[in-house]
Each structure stands twice: as C-alpha cells, then as structure tokens.
C-alpha cells in the first residue's frame, strides 16, 4: 500500500484530527530524552483499544512498522520509530478507568501520566510506587514498556512488581487479556513477561496496577560527606545494619553544586558527596531507623546528617534530586545518561572507574544515582552539534557499561535497552540466551511490525527476522 493511502486509512480509523503527517509536526516525534533521532512517517492518536487493534491490523497487512509512544521521556530510544514507521501516540488514551480502593488497584489507559495517578488516589491514602524522575510527564504505558524504576524502587520494586493485569493488542490486531486484579493469574505469567518487553511483543491498552498505602511517617535525611568514597561505603554499611531505606540516592559534589545553583534545594556547596536517604513506615520504626542510619553515616565519616524538618524541606531535597538531569543543562547543551548497575559493594570502585573514563576521553561526568540498588547514572556532558564529541561520549558510555558487567552488574537498571544499548546486549547474554529471547519475540511478533530494531543486537535482527524493512513499498519511503 502506498503510504498516503496508509495515512488515509489511519484517519478513517482514528479520526481526521488524529493523524499527523506534516514534516513540521513529525519533527516533534523524532526524538525521546536520549540522543538518537529519526523522523516517523506519521503519528496516529488512537482513542480506544479498538482503534489500536484496527491500526495494528492495517500495519500487519500493509507491512509498516508501528512504535508505541507515551510522553517520549525514555532514555534509550525505545519510542523512536524507524524511517517509514508510524508512531502510535497514547496522548488521547489517558483516562483512569477505575480506582478500586478496597483491593488497592486501579485500571488505567497507557497515556495516564505517572504522577497523575498518585494525585488522583491521594485522598484515599494511596499512591502508585514506581517514581521515575520524569514522573510528572512520563506515562504508565511507557513505564510498563520499559519496566521503569525510580528512587523508591529500592524498597518497593520496579514497575513489574506493581502490575497485575494487562489488556494487550497483538501485532495482528487480536485483543488479549493477561491477569486481572488478583495477585496471581492462571497459566504462564504473561503479564510479568510483557512488562519491560519494550513494545516488541504487543501494544498495551489497559493496565491494572497495584496501589500502595501512604506510610504514616517519612523521614528524609541528608548525609553530607567530604569524599565520594565515604558516601559510597555508607551505602553498604546501612544495608549491613539491617536497614532497607525506601530510597537511598547519591549525588557527587560536582553534580550537587550544579543542582544547587539551579534548584536551591539546600545541598551544601562544599561537600564531596551527599546521600539522600528516605525511611518510611510506622512512626516507631522510622524513628529507630533514622537514628540508626545517622549513627552508621557518622561512623563512615559523614560530616553531618541533616533531617528535613517538614514537608517543604523534604520537597526541596527531592526537587534537587528529581530535577538534577535538567539542572546540568546549565553547564552543557546536552548530556548522555547511562544506566549501568553494579553490586552495591562495587559502587566505590565503579565511581573511581567513571572518573578515569572521564579523564581518558576529556569529558565531564557527573554522578547522581540510585545508590541503594547500585544503579549508576553517570551523566556525560557534551555538545550535540559536535558529531565527533557524540561518538566519544557513546564510546565512554559503552566503556562504563562494560565495566559494570565485568563487576557482575548489568547495562540497564531501569531505562531499557532500546536502540541505545542493543549492540551491548552480547556483553550480558550469550548467543543461546539471545536466541531464546528472539524465539519468544518471534512467537508474538515474527514479522517484526512492532518496534523493530530495538532490544536485540542489529546483526542478529537482520539475520533472523524478516521485518518490514524487507517491504519494497516501505523501502521506497526511505527505510
């Protein structure tokens, strides 16, 4: 089918005002929060599951690729369409369909913004636990696709731990239902398997999420250190003391100064590093743990341990953390955020290695990360107008991830593989591992219509699936 006819068909399905195909409109959908770009052929805004089903039937018949997109806040290029691809944008499927407070569940459409759900159920004393830094913008559909995390996943787990059911449209348009409101479901745990599959197996159109009860007491501590090493050692020491904080975040001195300049969060400008530690639960428990954490931090040479005295101070400390990536925009036109994970005892060595990589490539690298679960976020500053620098930045990022894997870790803790890290997958997985994953991919999406070119190493996908790139019509469109 010639592509203008595809656009006509999309308009018939979703409505005349629900399809974009002008270059100036499409430019807005050519990027996410990572560093890759590619302009889609069209963007369509479905309003219900039936629209999604009809669009996927059309895609399957006409052979064009489809990429689901929430708010485009992803950091791994997961929502970027290949040339000739159609973006399925969920901005109009943004309704909270049901709140079942008694069972601590909500049923939402994929375009619901993460923070909006927590705001909507706050009056019931409930909230949705996954809290990526982008939670004011990112959608729950995107969280499901990438299995997103956030600071509080240390205690509560990532998105998959908070999803009990999905409605999924399969590549050929069939609508299926996995799980429901019950904690367990019959048969294979396809809900769990589809979460984090990066839109490569099916398109999720309804999500049943688990809600948590807001804790009675929250204590937010800021432990201030002269050196990064002292801060990093404190992370393991807190765990060794038998305490699992709700969140345990670290900012190195250079990053916190940039954040402080932008946000005035109350971070000390002369510190080598700070740990932002949050404890939640029963008042008696939190008070005991706060005192124990203070002791541990002081034993590990903390200069001072402050405690937010009210919700305003707490909000400020978190504002600094959550806006840190944006704050670095004051120092450079762009940044490249990595997402490696190491066992938490390897954090001091990992930070030393990142420092060496920065020196080797002549790049500024800041560190602001989820220290409690060893999830590093080195932020490499660069100027995207300089293509040579982008290459250096990506090489530096890859070197850091290789080190993480050699230390027993992973190349991604919460951002996903997407386009960005697909060729690093062989660092973690053998040919057999990837073959098994690919066989599962092909069990659902053999034609490669859904989100092609993501997650699997390029060479493997070219060799082992026959995707839309082989379609002559789409090739002429520039794929």
């Amino acid at each position: 089918m010639h592509f203008p006819r595809v656009v006509d068909q999309l308009r018939k399905i979703a409505g005349r005002d629900a399809v974009l195909d002008r270059p100036e409109d499409l430019m807005l959908y050519e990027y996410d929060a990572g560093v890759r770009k590619c302009t889609p052929a069209a963007v369509v805004f479905p309003q219900n599951t039936q629209h999604v089903s009809a669009i996927l039937r059309l895609a399957s018949a006409a052979g064009f690729p489809v990429v689901a997109r929430g708010a485009g806040t992803g950091l791994s290029g997961g929502a970027i369409a290949p040339k000739g691809g159609v973006v399925l944008a969920f901005a109009r499927m943004n309704r909270i369909l049901e709140v079942d407070a008694g069972n601590m569940r909500a049923v939402v459409q994929p375009g619901v913004v993460n923070q909006q759900l927590s705001d909507c159920v706050a009056h019931l004393g409930l909230y949705f636990a996954p809290d990526p830094s982008s939670q004011k913008a990112c959608t729950i559909g995107g969280n499901v696709a990438e299995n997103s995390g956030g600071p509080h996943t240390l205690a509560y787990g990532v998105t998959v731990n908070h999803v009990s059911g999905l409605t999924v449209v399969m590549p050929a348009g069939e609508v299926v239902r996995f799980g429901g409101k019950a904690a367990e479901s019959d048969g294979f745990d396809l809900t769990g398997f589809f979460v984090g599959s990066e839109g490569t197996l099916g398109v999720v159109t309804e999500i049943t999420v688990r809600l948590l009860r807001r804790p009675e007491r929250i204590a937010t501590l800021l432990a201030i250190f002269e050196t990064v090493d002292d801060g990093a050692r404190t992370v393991s020491a807190i765990t060794a003391a038998g305490i699992t904080p709700a969140a345990l975040e670290m900012l190195d001195g250079w990053t916190l100064r940039a954040v402080e300049a932008a946000c005035q969060a109350g971070y000390p400008l002369d510190a080598g590093a700070v740990l932002l530690i949050e404890l939640e639960g029963l008042t008696e428990q939190v008070e005991e743990q706060a005192e124990a954490v203070r002791k541990v931090a002081l034993e590990q040479k903390a200069r001072e341990v402050r405690r937010a005295k009210d919700e305003i101070e707490r909000g400020l400390l978190w504002k600094g953390r959550k806006n840190a990536f944006a704050a670095l925009g004051r120092l450079a036109p762009s940044y490249y955020s990595q997402d490696g994970v190491v066992p938490r005892t390897k954090i001091p060595a990992a930070l030393q290695f990142i420092g060496l990589v920065g020196k080797k490539y002549g790049l500024r690298i800041g560190n602001i990360f989820h220290a409690g679960d060893g999830n590093l976020h080195p932020l490499i500053l660069f100027d995207p107008r300089n293509p040579a620098q982008l290459e250096l930045v990506q090489a530096a990022g890859a070197e850091i991830l290789e080190w993480c894997v050699s230390a027993g870790g992973s190349i991604t803790g919460e951002h996903g593989i997407g386009l960005e890290k697909r060729d690093l997958m062989p660092l973690l997985f053998t040919d057999d591992d990837l073959d098994v994953m690919l066989s599962l991919h092909n069990a659902f999406n053999a034609a490669g219509t859904l989100n092609p070119g993501k997650l699997f190493p390029t060479a493997r996908m070219c060799r082992e699936t026959t995707g839309p790139s082989a379609n002559p019509v789409l090739s002429s469109e520039g794929m």
């Binding site: 008694g102 069972n103 569940r105 294979f188 098994v436 069990a443």
Partner: protein, 427 residues
Amino acid sequence: MKAAGLSLDVRRELCVICGEEQVRERDGGPIVVLPASAEEVAAVLRLANECRLRLSPAGSDTAINPSGKQPDVVLNTTRLTEVEHYDHADLTVGIGAGTTVARLQALVGAEHLLFAADPALPDRCTVGGLLATASHGPLRHGYGGVRDYCIGIRFVTGGARRAKGGGRVVKNVAGYDLMKLLIGSYGTLAVITSASFKLFPAPRETKTFLTEFSGAAEALRFRDQLMRSPLSPMCLELVSPGARKLMRPEMAGDAWVIGVRAAGSDAVQARYRKELGSAVTRELEGDKERIMWRAIEDFPAACGQMSKDERRKEGARNVCIQISVPPSDVLRIINLLNTPDDRKNVSVGFIGRVGVGHVLAVIQISSEEREPLRLVDNLRREFKDNLSVKLDSASKPWPIPPANLTAMRAVKQALDPGNVLCGREIF
C-alpha cells in the same frame, strides 16, 4: 528409539551422560536420572528430543501428585546444588535449583539475612520446585512472592538450549524477563538449573498476635481495618476452625483466627498491640511462634497427604484448592465453598494470606473423577479474569485451560517445540 518401554539404548545413553549410578529405575515407573550440571541437563534434553521421550523435571516431589500422567524420564535436579555466588553484603545469592529451601535459608541465615520464601516442607522442597510452582507461605504477605525477588534464572529449554534471564544484581531490566515466564510454569517450558535471589535483612525480633472471631465475615472485617492501618506485618494469615483442627490437635478451637506477625523492637510491638486492640487473645514468640507458623507453612503438604489417604475411602475425598482473588472477594469464595448449592461438597478448612487475596481450601467432594474440575469451572464462571486456581496436582497444573491458552501455546512452541516437557496435555 521409541518412548514406550524405554529401550536399552536410551538407558545406556543416559548412563553415558550422567554416570551409571545416577540413572535409576523403579518397578513399572519412569527412569529417574540425576544430572550434576546444566551441561548434563542439556544432554538429557537433547536425548529426550531425539528419542521423543516424555520428560518431567522434579525436585523432591513435594508438589508432584503421583496420579498425574507418567513421564518416560524424571529429571531429578537434586544434585544441582552449587552456590554460584553469595554476596552477603550485596544481599544476593545464586544457587543450584536442587538446593533445598531449608539449606538456602540456613546459608543466608548465618549472616542474619532472610530468603523470604517459606513453602511447605522446606527440608525437601527445592529452589527449582519453589520457582516452577510459584509456591509461597505466610511470608508472601510482607515480602511478596518469589516473582518479586528472583533476580536471575538459568535453565535448559525443552528444546535443549542452555540460557539465562536476568542476572545477579537487584535491579536489571536488560532483555526479556524470563524469570517471570518460568516462575509458575510447572516445568512445562524448561528445566531450571539455578537462580539468583535478592535477600532481606532478617528481623531481629518478631512477635505474633493472635486474634479470634466467631466467623469468617468478622475476621475479614478485621483484616480490612488492619489493611487500612499504618501497620505492615510480615505475615497476615486467616485460619479457619477446621484448618486449626487439621494442622495440630492442640490448635483446635471454634474461632476463626487471624495471625499477625510483626517484626521490630519493643516499641514497635507495643504499637502493634495498641492498634490491634482488644481483638488480640494471645501473643506468641520464640519456639511457640515458630511452631505455629511452621504448621501453617506445612498445611498444604498435610492436606496433600490427607488427599492421598482419603482417596482410599469410598464415596468422598478431600482436595486442596489454592485460590487467588482480589482481597474483597475472599469472603465470597469462602461462602461459596462453604455452602455449595448441591451439598455434594463440604468444606473442611481454610487458611490464607487474605491480605493479598490468597485462600487455600480443603474441600470434601464426591469421589467422581471430574468433580474437582466442575468445582473449578464454577469458580471460573463466577470470578472470570480475577481468579487463579490450582488443584493439588502439580503434574496437571492448570485444572481447566487458562484464558490465554493461545499465547501460552506460542510460548511453549518457542521453548519446547518437541513438546518433550510435562504438561503436554493442555498444549
């Protein structure tokens, strides 16, 4: 070579792979083979595919019902016990699938850490069996299920491919989440050879508060209050009068009990006491507390044994049904099972992690072969998507075909194209 009446060639090949002393035959039963490594598991599966053998993975048979269809070969995993990594400061461990849960608990317990699974018969239940059946005990309430803290898995697919998912760090979203796919798949897709887990700090002090009620409705109203309170107990378990009698004679009584197990200092326990109020009739700690929770953990095994014994009797038999529903439906489930319309079935006892909507019921039903399935079918019609049911037979894990059978078949075809692994009836 043909499966039925295994040829000498197959036996010889198995001996070559695992060693003669690791290939055992029972009279009239399947050959049992005990591989010592993932390589040997893969070789056994290759042979099974070549010879079209029907193979069933097994740990210590704590969940297998011998009435299920008999495989040609039982692949016993109990020699796969290597500790792959134990990083106590990182709170992670990776261990062979044949290790018993009790051994793993003891290993990490020495460092004051907790492996948060507490299935029935931990001295026999293996890590692989725990994962394959997604079993849980009372700790499910406070720590989640094994799905929530298994961070990596190594396995050999039915197609004899050695592979892994996840890794050994607590946060990792690289690649498909194969842990989720294999947990609860009852050995129908792959043989799990080892797994990595997130550990938790072991609570230094615990106390159990027992509360008593005249009926299930009253007990569940108390559960609702508790769930709305700031308390977050390790365990929250409902035990019916019938279940109390079945568990231990000294625990017998007429009241429905909710057991609340709390971790924390004296100040924390005092707060629990205050919040739970006059409903508390007893407090347990130390050995008495341990014995009570162990009886609850082992309840499914006790029921399983009872089912076998009862089968010998005429006219009626007991079956165990594990049900997961939204918590607000627990009372409806109990009432339905307590007062069946045709009076053919009589409930014997209930326990359950009712805070998360779990109920384990022992039902006395007619000895007619299809009666348990009829019961399950009725429940499915009543609760639709919001229900998961397991009968006490692990060799037939899904008593009636699950709603997403087409997708399951696609997965089965991808990982076990020769349909070598058990569970082939539903595929």
